[in-house]
Symmetry: C2
Subunit: 223 residues, 2 copies
């Protein structure tokens, strides 16, 4: 019943995403789309990462939520320009679509920006299906969610270029096999870089920052 | 773009959900639809709850995942009949729709069943929009997800009849204000019953079990 309808929506989205990508490339902006379940720690991670980026990187953030502007408020302490999208205006959407990103990007002055981070809606299913015009995608998995999530939501881990296993400081208090979580990520997406972090304790962030800046540099050289 | 299409899908679903509800009522089965983010602890909670139910309650479970049958395997230790749905067959759906539940229910012998629990896909957005023919809905929030989730995903907390705040054993290791999480739930849905639990440590389960059995009893009396 729903599949042909969804296919058409996705085709329209793919075309808009490609137009976004061309536009961002023209503007010299690298776009990173960050996804996760609700409460995996995307905003805390970004708040810490933005404050540790090398000075030549000028970042802005588009942050999506169904409701509230809490995350924009939290991110604004980093000094990076932040645009908040609440998808309630778009019918309570469970993902950020390309046309929404296009509209949000118009609210940013991209002249002095070379990195645009999209913090997607908390959802391990739908956002994986919608490109927004990004150069790369990342997923944050909180270790509290369990080892099996990469196997249960494989599309998300398959489409991402990098994974962050967060809240690793909680491992001593959980009945969890953290190496198995990494192994399950690599079963779904062999050779994907996986960084183990605690955003609240600020551990493991440097490896991810190195990865991201290398991606940006590679794109600049290729362009 | 997507809103009229989604509206039509929801109308068709609502009609099927009503037909399901009539069918389950005829069969003398109370249906409880349990939702949460990925990894909030639904399966562990149900595994423990099923083993503590009073003997007059004969339960079965329909469990949904995008991929894998892990949860059905875990639930099967309780002795309750379990039907696993993997929505990969339905286009990787992010929720369980009424027509999927209808198909799954046909695989169960409902003669000796008076409680059917639907363990929905891990997602705080989409499942809230799709009735499946249930008598009541519940949401599990893991305290690790943060206090603000009821405000960010208000529809989920608004449509549910009961909330379970799980993984409370982790509070000492988190930078979290647990009473604020409860307060935020009640801001969105005043007077909703909220049970604080640790499914792994088996604390707080009795209150939820009492609530559920009372709902079943009330329906039986009303019928």
């Amino acid at each position: 019943m729903e599949i042909p309808v969804v296919r058409k929506v996705l085709d329209v989205n793919d075309q808009m995403a490609q137009e976004n990508k061309d536009y961002f490339t023209e503007q010299g902006v690298y776009v990173f789309n960050l996804m996760s379940s609700p409460g995996a720690g995307k905003t805390t991670l970004l708040t810490k990462v933005l404050q540790k980026l090398p000075p030549e990187i000028k970042a802005a953030v588009i942050v999506g939520d169904v409701c509230t502007t809490n995350d924009a408020d939290r991110l604004s302490v980093t000094g990076a320009p932040v645009v908040q999208i609440t998808t309630d205006d778009f019918g309570g959407d469970c993902h950020l679509a390309a046309h929404v990103i296009r509209k949000a990007a118009k609210e940013l002055d991209l002249t002095d920006i070379n990195l645009l981070i999209v913090e997607n809606i908390g959802n391990l299913v739908c956002p994986a299906e919608f490109d927004v015009g990004e150069d790369s995608k990342g997923v944050v998995l909180s270790i509290t969610e369990g080892e099996d999530k990469p196997l249960k939501y494989p599309l998300m881990f398959r489409v991402c270029d990098v994974a962050i296993l967060n809240k690793m400081d909680l491992v001593p208090y959980l009945e969890i096999d953290a190496p198995l979580a990494v192994k399950n990520m690599l079963t779904v997406h062999p050779e994907m870089p996986v960084f183990e972090t605690s955003a609240t304790k600020e551990t493991g962030l440097d490896g991810f920052i190195d990865w991201l800046t290398t991606q940006m540099e590679n794109k600049r050289k290729a362009g």
